[in-house]
Amino acid sequence: MASTLKPVDTLPPDLPSADVHLPGVKTYHQVNVDIRSTLHPTKAWFGALSIAILCLLVGITAWMYQIYMGLGVAGYEPPVMWGVYIVSFVFWVGIGHAGTLISAILYLFRAGFRTTIYRTAEAMTVFAVMTAGLFPILHLGRPWKFFWLIPYPNWRLIWPQFKSPLIWDVFAILTYLTISTTFLFLGLVPDIAALRDAETHPIRKRIYAVLSLGWRNSDQEWRHFSRAYLFLAALSTPLVLSVHSVVSFDFAMSLVPGWHTTIFAPYFVAGAIFSGIGMVFTILIPLRRWFGLKRYVTINDLDAAAKMCLLTSLVVGLAYLTEFWVAWYSGNEVEQSYFVARVFGQWWWAAWIMLTCNVILPLSLFVQRLRRNTTWLFILSLFINLGMWYERFVIVIPGLSHEFEPWQWTRYSPSAVDWSILLGSFGWFFMWFLLFCRQLPAVPIAEIKEIVPARLRALGKHTEPEYTLPELEG
């Protein structure tokens, strides 16, 4: 809990108080000003957005080429029938898990450090799920027929095969997208109202007015709001566990050695949270520096998130070991042969990228100094993203390439089209995130005000702050 942490930021609070979560934040007005100041486009932002859109265009071009030519332009090498696209699908769904975990589960657990990072994580979730949802479509042989996976009434009376885990996926992903979007939007309503009140531009003001649903800051509205928020948090909590469990069923329900295993659901959920926190670091650490939000997203918060990262890394590492143990203990020679090929044979390089990035490097987080070193956290988060992508690679591809039928053992190497579409997915994701972070507050306004201590709230009300803030480190 944040209150038990010592305030270790270099900024000495003006008012000595051990329970101050955000020692650098004094007044409501300061919160308004600081956060609103992030909501304007800059040259650097335009530059970043252009790069993201450029990447997206590369991906779109590659996809159009692939639709026209056929999936053969991707790197598939039967029987490796699923490749980079499914790897990336699982990767992005996994990224999408940290947001809801932080905003919903940690909300229910009243974990104080969530307040400052949850908005970013939640937006990341929505965009990651939007990205993930593209991959099952663009990996189809006939993507224009993707709607056949959706149960809709038709005169042919053909329904989807409800026994197929891919149909469960459709439901899981769409449900998750709906709930997490709703959750994100609901949390934004008071903040948008605050923006509306301060906005002078008539069109923007009008848009904010519509989006804020007429929020007037009344007690009744707050009561309804907090009940709704709690309700959605409760609704989202099982989703955090179920969605990635369902995704894991794509693999676990099949016969493929290395896929057909009961630990996949918890293993995938832990991996998803781990990768999601990694992505949160990747996004939040530059964001708090460029947006000047260091006194909001504090080192303490990052430290706490890093501990969660460490925990999930250990869970994931345990899952890796369990897989080996199960392969050995099962006595199933097909499974054993596959695991040997995975780690010491054909796929050793991918497996060791995975083990290094996901298990070995995160052990550094046992050291407090490194947990509080934002540079290290950022570098580590890149390794975690890489490692988690390779974790999915190691799950999806070696199993297919080393199956029951030795005559059909094969290799796999992604093609330029695969990589372009993966790049495009990052472009798509960051395009949405960049558009979001300059239009809507990436750090919650209302909830930060909640944790500004009451005795400070009146300070400087209707006046300018009476202090100057020294630069922060980290």
């Binding site: 042989g141 030795p406 005559w407 059909q408």
Partner: protein, 1032 residues
């Protein structure tokens, strides 16, 4: 339609489909040039006297001319186009089977690179001319040429045409033609003529107790492969009575891989071994000289003492092959196989009358000396099929006027001056003489596709313009053969229905002389110098000497031994690979006194460490888009070694240097792991472990009698309960829809409690649920020849994917021949896996072939994972793929443990795409009963569902049940070893239900509870007899 209507009951498919008597009118089939296929207008008046019914196939009994053996085929034509060849069951030679090369004849017929009309050389360019001009030109050139100043090089064939040709030549005062067959084992023919007076005695493997082959690849290109394979499989399936098979040679060919024992010996030393087996010379000396293991030779000799008759065959293409063949004939005589296993009185007449290689070489010499003014080439490509050292191209350059009758541009026709493209054999009339007393008739199955003309017709037209016109009063070659036919036109027309007739057509006026070569000295075999290798050159099992190379099915069919397609390779032993520090695919240079070739290495345990081997058939400089620039021709490095007496060219046995080249050319192979890792895919049973007769009688006689597990059955009393759970895979075959566990994908339709089970109800009017289509594959019969693969391509519109033009978009391998196969994207619905067993470091390793196709699991893993129901289980036990419904998630393939589902990565079936597999007019081959799949769709073996439904529909129209064994799948139909049997396993009347109950039956991966509909019968291994001295 009176010909095709069938009696109302008791009709079998064969009879119903019995070949139509197609007279001349029948061949005036409807227009079939592809440019006219635009409108769907049904015929109101049939253009050919009611023989064409839209949508109904017409079958023409004709003769396959892909090799000299002349098997009988039924050519299936619909709406005027011929699209499928099947063996003619009435034919005495092939009895309904057909090899891959025969299947692929339709791709020769519909080849996009055929000459489309006559042309002549004007300067350096080709000019299209009319037939009138061409014939006038030829008649003019004939004037003034006499006797041996003209050479007519014809592809060797039996029957009427050689006689006609000699008659025509003599009418013009020209020398008799040369009948050239690069695939024919001339040494054996010469020796047989000397020993038995016939060129090729029929071989009955079933009569032998031991088979010893000295390099005779009788399952591949040696002799008449289809009848040999039928007989061999019959023999080998006899369990304890089956002959053991010993293969002696430097390299294990496909035939060698089917042997129980391989005795590796240096090329050329077979003769010493054969003589030692007769008793001349000590075995130890021979072992040292030949490099063969002395133990194995001793074991063979002691085995020979008890095994009688023992059949010996020789086929080594080495310098002393003629002496070897004579020695082998002596062995056959002394071991009692002449008259039992080897039948000179039932000679295969197809190989009679071929010229000796020496005659061809001699003609080349005369050309080189400028003594030849006029050269005719028909059906052969000597520039490609003779060693480059023979200088064919140079010799041709000395001939002032060269006429080619080739159907395709090839290395020889490119050098000619006048091209008079012959009709394809499937467009031609003819009579072949496969057996001494049986004629095989050849009739057009299709109107000529292009502006081509049968050579016989052209020659008659030429004769009409020359002094010989009085001797050729007939108007066409067809008239000529009817004149020759015993019984005249009436008998001929009647015989066309069956395609075969007893009798003999008049042969050549002057058959080539046979040899009395005994006096000539045996060519010496020189030992290898340090660092040298023997070079073995052998015909490719599918491409032959090269004539098959323009047929994409044959290029794509993985070589049965190396599993390489669309590429040449050099076989080297693993120890050589280690010594040279190379991996498979490293480019090697093989250099002899005659020249050198570069090709990637294929590391093969079935070759001697002092030998390298290269297949013929590839390396064409001109032979169309499917052949040009693919692979190498090893004949570039083969010196001309003519046997002094027998006049036979020896291609193998040259000494070669092998160097590494700093290059890598990845092997286009379909092989993943060559070992089955104890997964029980290819199982064997020692012959000694087979049950005795009375033990076997206690087995259930059919699978239909195997008790079906019932979920509601009370468990058996006693401690047996755990043995009785439903669907225990090793005791219960045929669960299918009758099993409690097989209902998985179907939902409530197959649930016992469902109110309406629809077609899945046993009492549904369709009767589908009563059936369970199933297949047995007898690995004791299967030789791995891969004819089934080609048959499947032909029947099911499976695209080939390896042509260079199809490879332009394949990541990593753009433009390489076979790029899609390098990426594992072959589309073949059926593959033949070749697993090594035992120690591949020595010669004792065993090879097992497993045809692998969709197993039509009763409890199919692919079905429940498809999100859109594109794959489901039909009431009659088929695992069905609905192409139109497939969106291409490919989950089904991931979940298939047999990996028999194939995905359309590109638009292989879409005419406007670069990867299109059937460039015009190849698309005419497409089976109209089967659709062509577009890109992005999964496909797989359907058990030829179109044939099932056709049979069912016909039975229903005729008001009867489907008769047992009324029809079969394409692979089973073609299989030259009759290893595949298809049918309804739920009915005791079908053969398959008896065969599936065999003690050798097993399922692949039974532990996965897939309940497959394919039952494999274990291969029978025949260990060396115990009295033989052991190797220790």
């Amino acid at each position: 339609m009176s010909d095709t209507s069938a009696p109302p009951s008791g009709v079998r498919r064969r009879e119903f489909l019995k070949v139509l008597g197609a007279t001349g009118a029948a061949t005036a089939a409807i227009g079939c040039t592809s440019s006219h296929v635009e409108k769907l207008i049904p015929y109101l008046v049939q253009p050919d006297n009611d023989n064409t019914v839209p949508g109904v196939s017409t079958y023409f009994a004709t003769t396959c001319r892909e090799c000299a053996a002349s098997c009988g085929v039924l050519a299936e034509a619909r709406d005027g186009r011929t699209f499928k060849l099947e063996g003619n069951p009435e034919h005495p030679l092939n009895r309904g089977a057909l090899c891959a090369r025969g299947q692929a004849a339709v791709q020769g017929l519909l080849n996009p690179d055929r000459y489309r009309g006559p042309r002549m050389r004007r300067g350096n360019a080709w000019a299209n001319i009319t037939w009138d001009e061409a014939i006038a030109l030829l008649a003019q050139k004939l004037a003034g040429v006499q006797g041996a100043a003209s050479v007519f090089l014809n592809r060797h064939e039996s029957g009427a045409f050689p006689a006609f040709l000699d008659q025509w030549l003599s009418a013009h005062g020209l020398a008799p033609h040369l009948s050239y067959d690069p695939l024919l084992d001339g040494a054996v023919v010469q020796a047989n003529l000397q020993s038995y007076g016939v060129a090729w005695p029929a071989i009955d493997f079933t009569a032998a107790r031991l088979i010893v082959s000295f390099g005779a690849d009788f399952l591949e290109t040696w002799g008449a492969s289809v009848p040999q394979q039928l007989s061999f499989a019959d023999a080998r399936a006899r369990g304890a009575q089956a002959p053991r098979f010993v293969y002696i040679g430097p390299r294990r060919s496909l035939t060698g891989l089917n042997a129980d024992t391989w005795i590796p010996c240096a090329p050329g030393s077979e003769l010493a071994i054969a003589r030692a087996l007769v008793g001349n010379g000590s075995l130890d000396d021979v072992a040292t000289q030949s490099g063969a293991p002395a133990d194995a030779l001793r074991a063979l000799r002691s085995e020979l003492e008890s095994a009688s008759p023992a059949l010996f065959l020789s086929g080594a293409n080495v310098r002393n092959a003629f002496e070897l063949a004579l020695a082998v004939n002596d062995l056959n005589r002394s071991h009692g196989s002449v008259g039992s296993a080897l039948l000179p009185d039932r000679a295969i007449a197809a190989f009679e009358g071929a010229s000796r290689d020496a005659d061809v070489i001699d003609a080349l010499d005369r050309m080189r000396r400028g003594q030849v003014a006029l050269l005719f080439v028909r059906g052969v490509n000597p520039v490609h099929t003779l060693p480059a050292a023979a200088g064919v191209a140079d010799a041709l350059a000395k001939v002032p006027f060269k006429v080619s009758f080739s159907s395709y541009p090839d290395a020889t026709s490119e050098l000619c001056d006048l091209i008079l493209p012959d009709n394809h054999p499937l467009e031609s009339w003819g009579i072949a003489q496969p057996l001494a007393g049986e004629m095989s008739l050849q009739q057009p199955a299709m109107r000529p596709l292009f502006d081509t003309r049968a050579t016989g017709d052209v020659l008659i037209d030429v004769a009409h313009r020359t002094a010989a016109s009085s001797r050729f009063g007939m108007t066409s070659y067809r008239d000529w053969i009817i004149e020759q036919y015993p019984g005249g036109v009436r008998a001929f027309t009647a015989a066309l229905e069956k395609g075969v007739a007893p009798g003999r057509v008049a042969g050549r006026m002057s058959a080539p002389r046979s040899t009395t070569a005994a006096a000539a000295a045996t060519p010496a075999i020189t030992p290898l110098a340090e660092g040298e290798f023997h070079l073995v050159v052998y015909p490719h099992p599918a491409l032959g000497e090269g004539s098959g190379a323009n047929k994409p099915w044959l290029q794509e069919m993985p070589d049965p031994v190396s599993k390489v397609s669309w590429q040449s390779w050099i076989e080297v032993h693993p120890t050589v690979a280690k010594r040279l520090d190379i991996v498979p695919g490293s480019v090697l240079r093989v250099e002899t006194s005659a020249g050198h070739v570069d090709a990637p290495a294929f590391v093969y345990p079935g070759i001697r460490p002092d030998t390298v081997a290269i297949a013929l058939g590839r390396g064409h400089t001109a032979y169309g888009r499917f052949a040009e620039g693919i692979g190498i021709n090893p004949l570039t490095a083969v010196p001309v070694a003519l046997h002094p007496g027998a006049g036979v060219l020896a291609l193998s046995g040259a000494h070669a240097q092998v160097h590494t080249v700093d290059a890598f050319d990845e092997l286009v192979t379909t092989e993943g792991s060559a070992r089955q890792h104890d997964r029980g895919i290819a199982q064997v049973v020692p012959v000694t472990a087979l049950l005795s007769r009375e033990e076997r009688s206690r087995l259930p006689q059919t699978v239909a009698n195997v008790r079906m597990p019932q979920a509601e059955n009370a468990p058996a009393e006693g401690g047996e309960e755990e043995e009785e759970y439903p669907g225990k895979p090793d005791t219960d075959f045929l669960p299918g829809l009758r099993s409690a566990v097989a209902a998985d994908a179907q939902g409530e339709l197959v649930s016992k409690n469902a109110k309406d089970r629809g077609m899945y109800a046993l009492d549904h009017w369709s009767g589908m649920a009563k059936r369970r289509w199933a297949m047995t594959i007898d690995l004791a019969r299967c030789t791995g020849c891969s004819a089934c693969i080609t048959a499947c391509y032909a029947e099911n519109n499976v695209p080939t994917v390896g042509a260079p033009y199809q490879s332009t978009r394949t990541p990593g391998y753009q433009g390489r021949p076979g790029a899609n196969i390098l990426r594992g994207r072959e589309m073949t619905w059926m593959r033949v896996e070749r697993y090594y067993e035992g120690n591949v470091e020595d010669s004792s390793f065993e090879a097992r072939f497993v045809p692998m196709l969709c197993q039509h699991c009763g409890n199919a893993p692919c079905e429940p994972v498809c999100p859109v129901y594109a794959t489901y289980h039909s009431p009659d036990g088929l695992n069905v793929q609905v192409y139109n419904r497939c969106v291409g998630t490919r989950y089904c393939s991931n979940n298939c443990p047999y990996k028999v589902r194939y995905f359309n990565w590109f638009g292989f079936g879409e005419a406007n795409r670069t990867q299109y597999a059937w460039p015009e007019p190849l698309h005419l081959q497409l089976n109209p009963d089967v659709n062509v799949r577009g890109k992005g769709v999964m496909e797989k073996c359907t058990f030829c569902v179109q044939r099932i439904r056709e049979a069912e529909s016909r039975a229903r129209l005729e008001g009867r049940e489907v008769q047992p064994d009324e029809f079969t799948t394409s692979c089973a139909q073609a299989c030259p070893s009759r290893a595949i049997i298809f049918g309804d396993a739920a009915s005791p009347d079908w053969t398959v239900s008896h065969v599936a109950a065999d003690e050798r039956g097993y399922h692949v991966f039974p532990e996965l509870n897939t309940y497959t509909a394919v039952v494999y019968l274990k291969k029978i291994v025949h260990p060396a007899p115990p009295e033989a001295p052991s190797g220790a």
